[in-house]
């Protein structure tokens, strides 16, 4: 066997990765120091001006805050709900538990675009079912524009995101619960520990490593998520639900300022790289040879 064989086999995959990952990333870095626009010629070096424009823009700071809230609050809520569902399913009350587990996983299976669409229609001000229920229950007048009001838009997108992400947490927690050795519970029962004490002293500690993996993965994925916000609100109204991936598109393809868009995307990349390296530290290794 020739020494070069594995490299030849890897060649095509590396070529693709270079084309969609390595080259664009470097080009992006170069763009971010240049005056590049979609609608007029330019292309001179401008040093850190694009970055200064990004950091001077209050919209950047608003989007940064929104993205952080979306990623952290959304992930934490999804983890809590996922844990609750996993505990319920782990009671194993027969076949119905399996059917329920399958049904509870569905929001995660379908395309995020469909999820965003379904929630947008559910929350429709005039004909949506949510407003209908709220008004018939006498809680609120009908016709409230959930996605058209700056006070509620981001909250609604987070709800939709939680709905899409909790099944992932549920599935992982369920696997984690089933891996806890029964002896630990038996020993605790012999010692006379109450169910509540067993939950806090056996169940939760055993789920700690799964939780940290889930938390980081959830934050990374949500930080990257363009789909839910774009489909439901496009970042509006008046940018109240704007997040960074949508803002990159806004700067680059709506305002045609590729330089500023590139600078912003390098900022996003740096934040994500930091989170990804953190993830690699806590993630379980598949094969480290």
């Amino acid at each position: 066997m020739k020494k070069s064989t594995p490299y030849v086999l890897l060649g095509p995959a590396l070529l693709f990765t270079a084309f969609v990952l390595v080259y664009p990333l470097f080009q992006n870095l170069i763009n971010s120091f240049k005056d590049v626009s979609l609608v007029r010629s330019g292309g001179g070096w401008v040093g850190l001006r694009n970055y200064a424009h990004v950091f001077d823009d209050s919209l950047f700071w608003l989007s940064f805050r929104n993205t952080a809230v979306y990623a952290v609050a959304g992930t934490l809520l999804a983890l809590l709900i996922g844990l609750g569902f996993a505990l319920l399913l782990n009671l194993k009350i027969g076949r119905i538990s399996h059917v329920a587990a399958a049904l509870y996983t569905i929001p995660w299976v379908i395309s995020p675009v469909v999820a965003g669409f379904a929630w947008k229609w559910l929350l429709n001000d005039n004909f949506g079912i949510v407003n209908h229920w709220l008004s018939s229950a006498g809680i609120a007048r009908g016709g409230f524009a959930w996605l058209g009001d700056p006070r509620t838009a981001l909250f609604c997108v987070i709800v939709a995101r939680v709905w899409q992400f909790y099944p992932f947490a549920m599935v992982m927690f369920l696997a984690g619960l089933q891996a806890i050795p029964l002896e630990q519970y038996e020993a605790a029962a012999v010692d006379g520990a109450t169910p509540l004490r067993r939950f806090f002293h056996i169940t939760l500690p055993n789920l700690r490593s799964i939780s940290s993996v889930l938390l980081l993965l959830g934050v990374i994925w949500s930080f990257n998520d363009f789909n839910m916000v774009f489909v439901m609100t496009r970042g509006g109204p008046i940018n109240s639900s704007m997040v960074l991936p949508v803002l990159v598109r806004e700067f680059s393809f709506v305002h045609f300022d590729l330089g500023k868009g590139s600078a912003l995307s390098i900022v996003v990349f740096t934040l994500l790289l930091f989170l990804s390296l953190l993830y690699l530290r806590v993630a379980p290794r598949k094969d480290a040879t």
């Binding site: 969609v20 990333l25 929001p107 395309s111 559910l122 990257n224 990159v248």
Partner: protein, 270 residues
């Protein structure tokens, strides 16, 4: 008694969780006059499959569906070809830089699409691949590769090396050993990987949105995502499109739930 309460709770939660779908499904069967009615009704005597037919006339969904099929199946085939070679190298060879390459593929899966989209857009425009099937197929292939390599790598590791050694002794070359011995044994794994790759491309929205600009190349998610704000008056047809678009992933999930969950857990399809 306690069991009855739990069963009731499980059912109530299932209805709550599926509410957005049930509402979309109900809407997809209603005539427009009843979609725009206040107060809304879940079930009406006038329900029919008519919106499922109408949507193909009102919006260019037959073109979108064809585009989605072309892009997703081509990207699947290409990813599997390229990915199985790389996975084979990782599973069967020791070489300098192996860990580095594995790490590179793992990290590239976390890369934000937003951080590469502008140069990709420029590259596509300069090479004439912007707004073409080929351009989108190449990008989807690259995006799916890390996940596919990771899955296939696992499957290949599961096949004992002795099988392959026997083939080598019988005079096969390394590559023909891959083609004649390893690939057939790994076929179930490859089949599952192919389905994930297909669904990944089928659902992909971000790149498909930005790298296309005409109805002749737009895929279904782009159609739904773009029109959801514009054609507000045809919620029933949009719902029908959303339901039809969700059928392949749902069918797959129902048929092979265990593999599906493991596969989704193994990597990021989102």
């Amino acid at each position: 008694m306690k069991k009855a309460v739990l069963v009731f709770l499980l059912i109530v939660l299932a209805v709550l969780v599926l509410l957005p779908f049930l509402w979309t499904f109900s809407t997809s069967l209603k005539p427009l006059t009843e979609v725009n009615r206040h107060p809304p009704e879940w079930i009406s005597p006038n329900m029919s499959l008519k919106p499922y037919g109408d949507m193909f006339f009102y919006l260019p969904f037959s073109t979108y569906a064809l585009n989605s099929l072309i892009v997703a199946s081509s990207a699947t085939i290409l990813t599997l070809l390229v990915g199985s070679l790389a996975a084979f190298a990782f599973a069967r060879f020791r070489f300098a830089g192996k860990r580095l390459f594995l790490l590179l593929f793992l990290l590239s899966q976390m890369l934000p699409g937003a951080s590469v989209i502008i140069p990709l857009f420029q590259l596509m425009r300069e090479s004439g691949l912007y707004d073409t099937h080929v351009g989108l197929i190449l990008v989807h292939t690259a995006v799916l590769l890390p996940f596919v390599i990771w899955l296939l790598y696992g499957f290949f590791l599961g096949i004992p090396g002795e099988v392959e050694d026997a083939a080598l002794i019988d005079g096969c070359s390394r590559l023909s050993a891959l083609r004649r011995v390893i690939l057939p044994l790994a076929l179930p794994g490859i089949g599952a990987t192919a389905l994930f790759a297909f669904l990944g491309s089928w659902s992909e929205f971000f790149f498909a949105l930005i790298l296309t600009s005409s109805d002749a190349t737009r895929t279904i998610p782009v159609g739904i995502g773009l029109f959801v704000g514009e054609y507000v008056d045809v919620w029933n047809q949009m719902s029908a499109a959303a339901v039809l678009f969700s059928l392949p992933p749902l069918a797959l999930f129902m048929l092979m739930r265990r593999t599906f969950v493991q596969g989704l857990a193994a990597g990021a399809l989102q």
